[in-house]
């Protein structure tokens, strides 16, 4: 497959693995957090951990938008979707995300809610055009990458003068979450786990560029290497991080230069800032309230804001107290450290955020990597 196979070449991978092995000083650990779920998935799917030396450890961050969506927001969507006048349009991977008490959009659909899976925002607009007598709500979710399509959709709705269309906005931002992780007490004060550097987002950075990470790298003294999602991209990014750590540098470097620039996609950023503004805070599953990390529609677009249009009340749901997702997302614990992992919490019946999507740390480990736990147990 052109433009993909080139970045999955085994020989080059083994060469990079060797360079990483010789470059990483045996005496010290290298703990890198890959922020994005796409990176987590690539690590697991291609078995990258097998190619890294023991002292280079990857910590799976919170960059899976489905995973970090709090259960209360799902409950809000379910409550809305149960109204007979509503058609709720969602991306497919949201369907199984657990709300409170085992509820999900999939189960709501089985009970009669009109919930449609869509693959693009344009499809949601089309559904609104085809159903003028119904209210069509798009469940908008995602990081900076999926926000521009939502903005475009609102523009389209405006142009087509669609009166029956609105958006339940759950868009979140990457840099505030990265900052939140490093500022959390168990990282900063207790110092149980150090994060020596970050593999920065791929697709998110195509939109926002590399500049937003510069303050972060400087302030926290941690290197950030923006990396593509292909396995060779990741190997190269890890090597770049190892080198920065060795040389005591903490810069923003761009491995994904074939798609990412310093300033990002100006047109997309403009569209987003025209239509959206920051929320004071937004809840992340596993991280709690994170200041200035979520977006809502500006007042001028309030008629497209489903939360205002339907008077949706904010619902709060506490996570299962035994669930370790928060600690796993911050790299303090591993999936196997959680009592729920693989017992009551599996991809079929996820309890916590990390098990929800295949990009979550727990689901990726369960789906692709759990054989290693048994190998380790046997070896010890």
């Amino acid at each position: 497959m052109k433009y993909a196979d080139e970045f999955r070449d085994k020989e080059i991978a083994l060469g990079l693995a060797k360079t990483i092995r010789t470059g990483a000083h045996a005496g010290r650990p290298y703990r890198f957090m890959e922020f994005c779920g796409g990176h987590t998935h690539a690590i697991s799917r291609y078995g990258l951990e097998d190619l890294l030396p023991k002292n280079v450890r990857m910590i799976h961050g919170p960059g899976c938008p489905v995973c970090v969506l709090p259960a209360g927001r799902i409950d809000m969507a379910i409550r809305l979707a149960m109204r007979p006048d509503i058609i709720l349009c969602v991306y497919g991977d949201l369907m199984r995300v657990p709300g409170s008490q085992g509820a999900s959009l999939l189960k709501a659909k089985a009970r009669g809610a009109d919930i449609r899976m869509v693959y693009s925002t344009i499809h949601a607009v089309r559904i609104a055009e085809e159903n003028p007598a119904r209210e069509v709500v798009f469940f908008a979710i995602g990081f900076e990458t999926t926000t521009p399509p939502t903005a475009v959709m609102i523009r389209m709705a405006e142009k087509k003068q669609l009166a029956n269309f609105s958006v339940f906005c759950n868009h979140v931002l990457t840099p505030p979450a990265m900052q939140n992780i490093l500022e959390s007490p168990d990282i900063r004060n207790i110092g149980r786990v150090e994060i020596d550097g970050f593999v920065g987002p791929a697709h998110v950075s195509t939109i926002i560029g590399t500049a937003p990470y510069e303050f972060f790298a400087e302030e926290f003294g941690r290197p950030v290497v923006i990396s593509g999602f292909e396995p060779l991209d990741m190997m190269q990014a890890i090597l770049m991080l190892v080198r920065q750590v060795n040389e005591h540098r903490h810069e923003v470097e761009n491995q994904y230069s074939r798609a990412v620039t310093r300033d990002g996609n100006l047109r997309a950023k403009e569209e987003v800032s025209d239509i959206f503004e920051l929320r004071d805070q937004f809840e992340w599953r596993g991280l709690g309230q994170v200041p200035y990390s979520g977006l809502k529609l500006k007042r001028a677009y309030a008629k497209y804001d489903a939360e205002i249009r339907f008077g949706m009340n904010e619902l709060r749901v506490d996570d299962n107290p035994a669930c370790e997702c928060g600690a796993i997302l911050r790299g303090v614990k591993k999936p196997v450290d959680c009592k729920l992992f693989g017992t009551v919490c599996t991809p079929e019946t996820p309890m916590g955020s990390c098990m929800v999507s295949s990009e979550g740390a727990c689901a990726a480990h369960w789906t692709y990597g759990r054989f290693r736990d048994h190998q380790q147990r046997r070896a010890s």
């Binding site: 078995g47 295949s358 789906t367 048994h374």
Partner: protein, 346 residues
């Protein structure tokens, strides 16, 4: 005297509730459309059942339902799929399929022309596979109570002497063979789904595998432990099932698994794993290592096994993991598909 006053208007007509009511209209639909398409001596006798002779030995029986959407897809339709699927379920026992039944649940308003096309491809698929559809049933339901057409089938076949293929038979050291490229059917269906439509040259692999199986049994005899057709859930589900039932694990080589570039690209785009995508004309065979070479050669000599490959082996593993060495050089699990990848693909 003519049996019916007016012929079925195949070109413009459609099924209405009278065609399921047991009256003259139903009789006309059955004789004018289904008997015509399936044409055989058993149906011609017009009984509510068909009698046939059985030889000595063991028989197999299977049943299956077909609810695929869309009804027509690149490489086939619900009719050919129903015959292939049923024949393959019988063939996976190493058996020779003989007779099928077919029951049709039709939504009112369904076009005769489409029904005729579907029935004709069933008849053709049956003739090609050397089986006969010898009994059937027709029901019509109100508009909105079924998605056009559902078909359910049953089939019987006869097992060669001494052969006992079963899912608990895999042994440590056995080889895993597959008959060709993975994921073709699932991707062909997805490419035609409303809201998902994309352009691809991939057609469904829907095919009857009984002849391929017969050649494999000739070559491998009792060295063939078991066979499965990896339909819904793909190769991943099939191997995980076998691992559990046989109390073994599997080690696969990703590089050895054939996937068409178009299928790989579509999966990449949709975020799917080809190992989870459905097939309708492929089989997995677990065979003793000493016959693996001969069975693989027999497969490759058959048109439906041209791309056959040896993709790995059964290993001792209490956890029944299906592990794979990735073509990138790492290792990973090939797990069951979680949740629903795409409903109604067969």
């Amino acid at each position: 005297m003519k049996a019916y006053q007016r012929k079925l208007d195949i070109r413009n007509g459609c099924v209405d509730l009278s065609h399921g009511s047991g009256g003259r209209a139903m009789a006309q639909l059955i004789s004018g459309l289904f008997h015509e398409a399936f044409g055989n001596e058993w149906l011609a006798r017009g009984n509510d059942q068909s009698a046939f002779d059985v030889g000595a030995g063991r028989m197999v029986m299977t049943t299956d339902g077909y609810v695929v959407s869309p009804l027509f897809f690149p490489g086939g339709n619900i009719g050919s799929l129903a015959v292939h699927g049923t024949v393959n379920d019988i063939a996976m026992a190493g058996a020779k399929p003989l007779y099928l039944s077919a029951s049709f649940i039709i939504e009112e308003g369904f076009r005769f022309a489409d029904l005729k096309l579907i029935a004709e491809s069933m008849g053709q698929a049956a003739r090609d596979a050397g089986v006969h559809i010898i009994t059937g049933d027709t029901k019509v339901v109100e508009l909105g109570k079924a998605d056009g057409l559902f078909i359910s089938t049953a089939g019987v076949g006869i097992v060669p002497d001494g052969l006992d293929l079963s899912a608990e038979n895999a042994r440590v050291g056995d080889r895993v063979l597959i008959s060709g490229t993975l994921g073709d059917h699932g991707v062909a269906i997805m490419s035609k789904r409303q809201n998902l439509a994309f352009e691809t040259e991939i057609v469904s692999d829907s095919a009857a595998l009984n002849d391929l199986v017969a050649r494999m049994v000739e070559a491998g005899g009792r060295g063939i432990r078991l066979m499965r057709d990896p339909t819904r859930g793909g190769l991943a589900a099939t191997l995980n099932e076998i691992a559990r039932q046989s109390d073994v694990g599997f080690h696969l080589q990703e590089e050895a698994i054939p996937v068409k570039p178009g299928v790989a690209a579509a999966c990449e785009l949709l975020g799917l794993d080809p190992l989870h995508v459905a097939n309708e004309g492929k089989l997995v065979a677990i065979v003793a290592p000493e016959v693996a070479g001969a069975v693989l050669a027999a497969m490759r000599a058959h048109p439906l096994g041209r791309d056959a490959a040896d993709i790995g082996q059964a290993v001792a593993d209490d956890h029944h993991f299906v592990q794979m060495a990735t073509s990138f050089g790492g290792g990973r699990i090939v797990d069951w598909l979680s949740g629903e990848q795409l409903p109604r693909i067969c």
